[in-house]
């Protein structure tokens, strides 16, 4: 948050940042290509290699790249204020906290078995 609450004005000013149409076009194209890539990898892992441990991480990685493209350009976070970037990052951070501790518990449980 800005120490001085007037400073938002200086950065934004009246003219909102206009992202060129060219960039939107390129981003959309990149997203299409990445979607194809996802399917391509799926074909590779599923039909050629018949399953691989890499399938999930790779698919997730590509999805993450796509998501960040959408975030940065379509949603304009790249050109947005620091506040908003922090706010949005917080969401993902606490999501990570949720999965981290839940998984920590489930994967460190020592199994007790019946002896009857």
């Amino acid at each position: 948050m800005a120490a001085n609450n007037h400073s938002e004005h200086q950065s934004a000013g009246h003219g909102h940042h206009i992202i060129p149409a060219e960039i939107y076009k390129k981003v959309a194209l990149a997203l299409f290509v990445l979607t194809l890539l996802t399917v391509g990898f799926h074909y590779l892992f599923h039909s050629v290699m018949h399953g691989s441990v890499l399938a999930a991480p790779v698919a997730f990685l590509i999805a993450a790249v796509k998501a960040s493209l959408v975030l940065m350009f379509f949603m304009g976070l790249k050109y947005d204020s620091v506040d908003n970037r922090i706010i949005f990052a917080l969401g993902f951070f606490f999501l990570f906290v949720l999965i981290f501790f839940s998984a920590l518990d489930i994967w460190t449980r020592v199994a007790v078995t019946s002896t009857l």
């Binding site: 948050m1 800005a2 120490a3 001085n4 609450n5 007037h6 938002e8 506040d83 917080l90 969401g91 606490f94 906290v97 949720l98 501790f101 839940s102 920590l104 518990d105 489930i106 460190t108 449980r109 020592v110």
Partner: protein, 535 residues
Amino acid sequence: MSASTHTASHTSGEVNYINEFKGLKSWFTSLDHKRIGLLYMISVLFFFLVGGLFALLIRLELFKPGAQYLTPDQYNQVMTYHGAIMVFMVIVPGIPAILGNFFLPLQIGAKDVAFPRLNLTSWYVFMLGAIIAICTLFLGKIDTGWTFYTPYSIKTGTAATMMVVAAFVMGMSSILTGLNFIVTVHKLRAPGMTMFRIPLFIWAIYSTAVLQILATPVLGITLLLLAMERTFGVGIFDPNLGGDPVLFQHFFWFYSHPAVYIMILPAMGVVSELIAAFSRKTIFGYTAIAFSSIGIAAVSFFVWGHHMFVSGQSEVAGIVFSFLTMLVGVPTAIKMFNWLSTLYRGNISFESPMLFALGFLFLFAIGGVTGIMLATIATDVHFHDTYFVVAHFHYVMVGGTLMALMGGLYYWFPKMFGKMYNETLARLTFVLIFIGFNVTFFPQFILGAMGMPRRYFDYIPAYQSLNSISTIGSWLIGCGFLLSLYVIVTALRSGEKASDNPWGAKTLEWQTSSPPPHTNFHVEPVVTAGPYEYK
């Protein structure tokens, strides 16, 4: 706060937010944050009355061992309604939605919250949720406890799905309020009101809002999954279908632990205001208190597993959570010592709001140290789910939050309504509530140490005497709150006119007229100093 607002005296008959528009419709459609604050006040106090009646019923049943007035099933329902109403409909919305709504814009010198329409919407959403919750009373009731633990909540034949939907809806309202407050604090501060000049109440409300935004959505999805579980049996939380009931507890406490700070942080904020104002002294360690609010909010997300030390959670997770829980103790201790230091060499007077603030310190100290006993993993194994826990969280939630809410209401009452209440009676309410509270809940620590589990309809005879004392205490609390209702109602009807700044406090809300005009300030304030400059 030496703000260069105009300080002309305001004659009676002036236009203010109460008399500017007339008629019920003008209240139910008002976008004015002050009026919305009052709408919340009326509804929350009403629900508090209902929840309180359930509490009295619980204590009445537990006066003696064996069945007294209720059947076990009825008792379980009463216990559930007491918890659910008090948590979702009273303490979570309590201070933020009533006092926060009313004073957040006033204290930062804004004309309103950032999104007034959203603000009104959140009240309607809250009421919708509350009405659904109340409807369950007539459509099957609910007996799961406010925690909705699976698989009991999946199996029970009561109206759990409906209650879950109600909690979901009220969660949405909480999110909207939080969102509104964050943007208001970020964007609507008056000229010169830097982040380190906002009153500590605002820091507390702000930290609370962050929690509301970040934690509540997970509660939403958890409750939605629970509803799915009940309707379709998807098996995520149902062990019979390969699900994990302990995972439900993780999801639930990911919200509900931060939620206990949603309940207590605003109370801490109120207390900071009260102690500074009635000591006529600048607050000790402003920065430390402000950052400890944020610190508590942040760390509160990493400690939820301390509700699950014996739930079948792994040893590693238990120890990590115990360690992290200890860390929350530090910012809390900082706050306590800072309040104490503020009293040092102050100029202290003991009007009813200050009595509540000092009462808060007393009860919160006890609530705090017993919290450490519960955070210690080995002793928690013994105390978990016993009356020790019940006593602990009542000391913090009731002794803390409700004391602060009452103190805050008495403190700001002249500003909200432009009238004064009967001070003698107000002090009497404090005495009743404070003594009643300790009589009710201190024996419960001992009961817990003796091993009496919570949510018990009946108990072994060894626990009788302490339970009876506890029940008698609950009547004292009941009288105290009834008396405060009387104090407030008579003050509203025939209270003396209050001056604009009866306590001589320095924060911005006292620089405008009582009650404030629709746009809060007659002239936009320009702030040149911190909030507690008693020089």
